[in-house]
């Protein structure tokens, strides 16, 4: 699956972070996302959008996904100069969220719409035992 992601986003710069699938690790995921966005040259507001979207994707992976044998999920960042992509990968089989189809009174289902509202593209790649979310920002 990773090969597929790398083909889809040929990268010049790439970094990876293996993260224990624990809620207490979300702050680390946000710091990682902020560093990647800042290194790419995004202004603070757009860095925050990346941080928010990554936090949502990692939260989904922790809540609904499945970690590897070591209890980890994977977060990586790559950029090709014009596009920054953050990739969140877990070993679960994606089940579509109960979207906010019940209206605004549903407690869940807001993660993907919020990610889509803040990123330029949000891609979901699903295979049995592998769920990958790719979150991209294009340089303005």
């Amino acid at each position: 699956m990773r090969a597929t992601v790398e083909q889809a986003h040929p990268s010049r710069a790439r970094s990876e972070l293996r993260l224990p699938a624990q809620p207490s690790e979300l702050a680390r995921a946000r710091r990682y996302a902020h560093e990647a966005a800042a290194a790419f040259g995004l202004d603070e507001e757009r860095c925050y959008e990346v941080v928010f979207a990554v936090n949502e994707a990692v939260t989904n992976a922790i809540r609904h996904g499945r970690p590897d044998e070591q209890g980890c999920i994977e977060l990586s960042a790559c950029s090709d100069g014009e596009r920054l992509t953050l990739i969140v990968c877990d070993h679960g089989t994606f089940v579509p969220p109960a979207a906010v189809e019940g209206g605004p009174s549903c407690e869940g289902g807001r993660g993907f719409p919020l990610m889509a509202g803040l990123m330029d593209t949000v891609e979901l790649h699903t295979l049995p035992g592998c769920t990958t979310v790719c979150l991209s920002k294009v340089r303005m």
Binding site: L26, A27, N55, T59, P104, S105, R110, G117
Partner: protein
């Protein structure tokens, strides 16, 4: 580690104190790690009889969709208990938090105010 706090605030001074009004103040990052505390505190106040809740998020540095879900859950709980309301306060300067509320589309359930005074005035006169 991230930083989060939520506290009761006694500074309802100047407002007609009513047992069913509660003011809570949160700060720091409200993510999936912190949202259970938020859920618990809101549930405690509702269980204790509060029906008009004001939650000041002006000092919140990060809020995610699970926290929004907790707030929606509190509103649903109030409805189940026979009615009530949740007002969120967020200062105009805190654009990050305000923006998430705007995109989340929960304005039909949760009133958003720019100051505690505005929220309390609305709560105490709209009844």
């Amino acid at each position: 580690m991230s930083f989060f706090y939520i506290s009761d605030d006694a500074s309802l001074d100047g407002w007609e104190r009513s047992e069913d009004i509660a003011l809570l103040v949160a700060g720091g990052d409200i993510d999936y790690d912190a949202s259970p505390q938020l859920r618990e505190r809101l549930a405690d106040r509702i269980h204790g009889g509060a029906r008009r809740l004001v939650l000041d998020l002006s000092k919140v540095t990060f809020i995610d969709s699970t926290a929004i879900g907790v707030l929606v859950g509190a509103v649903m709980r109030l409805h189940e208990e026979g009615g009530g309301s949740l007002a969120v306060v967020c200062e105009e300067e805190n654009r990050r938090v305000l923006r998430i509320f705007e995109i989340a589309g929960v304005d039909s359930l949760i009133a958003l105010h720019r100051s505690r005074e505005e929220a309390l005035l609305e709560l105490t006169t709209a009844r």
